[in-house]
Symmetry: C2
Subunit: 404 residues, 2 copies
Amino acid sequence: MRILVLGGDGFLGWVSAMHLAASGHDVAVLDSGVRRAYDAELGTSSLVPIGTLAERVAVWAAVGGRPIEAFTGDVCEPGLVAGVMERFGPEAVVHFAEQRSAPYSMIDRDHAVHTQVNNVVGTLNVLYAIAGTGVHLVKLGTMGEYGTPNVDIEEGWLELTHRGRRDRVLFPKRPGSFYHLSKVHDSHNIEFACRVWGVAATDLNQGVVYGVETDETRADARLGTRFDYDQVFGTVLNRMVVQAALGEALTVYGSGGQVRGMLDVRDTVACVRLAVEHPAEPGEFRVFNQFTEQFGVRELAERVRSLAPAEIKIDELDNPRVEADRHYYNAAHTKLLDLGLVPHLLDDATITGLLRLAHTHRDRIDRRVIQPTINWRRTTNALADDESLADDEWPADDESPADE
Amino acid sequence: MRILVLGGDGFLGWVSAMHLAASGHDVAVLDSGVRRAYDAELGTSSLVPIGTLAERVAVWAAVGGRPIEAFTGDVCEPGLVAGVMERFGPEAVVHFAEQRSAPYSMIDRDHAVHTQVNNVVGTLNVLYAIAGTGVHLVKLGTMGEYGTPNVDIEEGWLELTHRGRRDRVLFPKRPGSFYHLSKVHDSHNIEFACRVWGVAATDLNQGVVYGVETDETRADARLGTRFDYDQVFGTVLNRMVVQAALGEALTVYGSGGQVRGMLDVRDTVACVRLAVEHPAEPGEFRVFNQFTEQFGVRELAERVRSLAPAEIKIDELDNPRVEADRHYYNAAHTKLLDLGLVPHLLDDATITGLLRLAHTHRDRIDRRVIQPTINWRRTTNALADDESLADDEWPADDESPADE
């Protein structure tokens, strides 16, 4: 199949593109490089050095990978997605090209507006580009769209019985940040496009991803993908192994009782491939809950502590987010298993591998970017305790650690 | 109370502002004039001539109304709402300042994007402006957010029982246009702001409004509000009385079996006042379904026909929208009644009054703007059968009928 991956320079876009190519598909990526711009803005960088998109695409071909074509541009630009589709002629579009950080969206008004406009307009552009073409949309959503309801979470839809009557409705959402909200907005817009234009769409409500290695990244160190550990773009397990590499306390928010669906990055790429290879029907808005296991945050911290080479402790921080610390959580996730997903469950070897990776790159760790300073309760936040990020006070270049 | 009305130059914003002032409140309005710009773009105008905002505010004071202060600006501009709030010091903000036409949002990509960005960013700006101030937000939503589910529609929230467990969740939405979707996005954003910042908000899910006269407009002809009858901004009953005034067939979409909640414009202004005078609690996201009666579209057409002075027929048009022609519809609407709303139910006198008004201004009717040309199934639509509105083909000035 011919597959266009939007956001193909990002953490998961890049490994998905390689995995699709390795699976025999013709792949092109489109990316604006905005994720690297966020690094520049935030003074952060990937723990693992990564090459430019052009370099990675060239290395991938050099090691014998099925060539990946690279397009540059912003999906928010009118006509850009349609133009690239016309040139490449995809049968499926995989859409990773969104601002994906909840804390980033909660910095202040400008970042909330940027996140929602960027994500909603990009997805609208994709919908207008594929309407009437028969191209299957595979869109990255998030389990965070659901929040933590006191009832079982289904996969996107709910068979509702109310006052003796029945209907099939979108599962009610209670997202926890302006970022998560942007994905809820996307889901509603996509469902509408399926209804009125007959678009075939799969919304992948993904859990928290851990790990950075896939079968494809192992071919050459220069094919590595981003490893984010900072308070803004880092995800929980990746951040903890960095804290462990520093010999510092692992931090949880509140008591760490939050439960989330999680998955290995190798399962992410497999899920994306399975969704593409088994497309939705025309007019179908299909939702998969894309995770393999549920973990409590404290429970993860205990596992990292038990495998860390040195003695470390676990610190409970005041939760900068507004969320329940203890809650019911039981989310369905059978549809990708039904398509053939064989999960890589979280084992000690995976955690140990991550600990080793963090140790290898420990000289690149910037302690200042780890501790959370973005508080959901405030409407304006500074990015580090000792500096303000008001409009005219962006970090100067010399404050940013060296990066790719 | 001190009340700031955003979008106070529009169809309902203006009459609400006057009604609040007439009820003894200190009122200011903020408007960018964009509704008049849409007229210029579409080549349409209000059937009833209306003055500029400055003229209307001056006439209102001249006839003895409690003075209304007028601010000019766009709520999408960063800092504008916060700045006006600082100057005026409101206790409540009533937010009408959104693009409110479903067909407008379905013209093409640019109009869909404009509608969602304009509405979502404006509301985000309002939320950031009021967070932490204790100001009560009264936001205009729409009954169209719900769509036409096969179950009873509740007022915003649903007591859900699912697999033996219970939760209170936002009522699932199935909106019918990118405009309606923008209001669903707003509702989710507002509920989140209530949760994390303790904002007090009332979301008024309003039905289809008919009529243009209120107690306040009757004081002077120059205080009149917009009367829209065109395919883009016109609402169903107002459009039908214009067709009747022309002696032309009343048109319904499909068989006209669509059922909608509707209300008299006099009840709109009363509902807004009741919501303001009985504010939501801090942190409360309160939803009122703001309509008084349910009508089928065909049923409305029959009533207009029976009261029209000449013999007219009812034509069934191919429905340009994607919606159910026959469907279950039963929506709760008790909360505003509980606050004291005394509905003006649709009586023959109201319809006859509208027929008379349309007859009085029949020389101002532009037949070309009535018939629907915006088809939900297409991604690009022309605004009239004989002209295209592609990017570089906006209607020339001389194509627009004379207007205010």
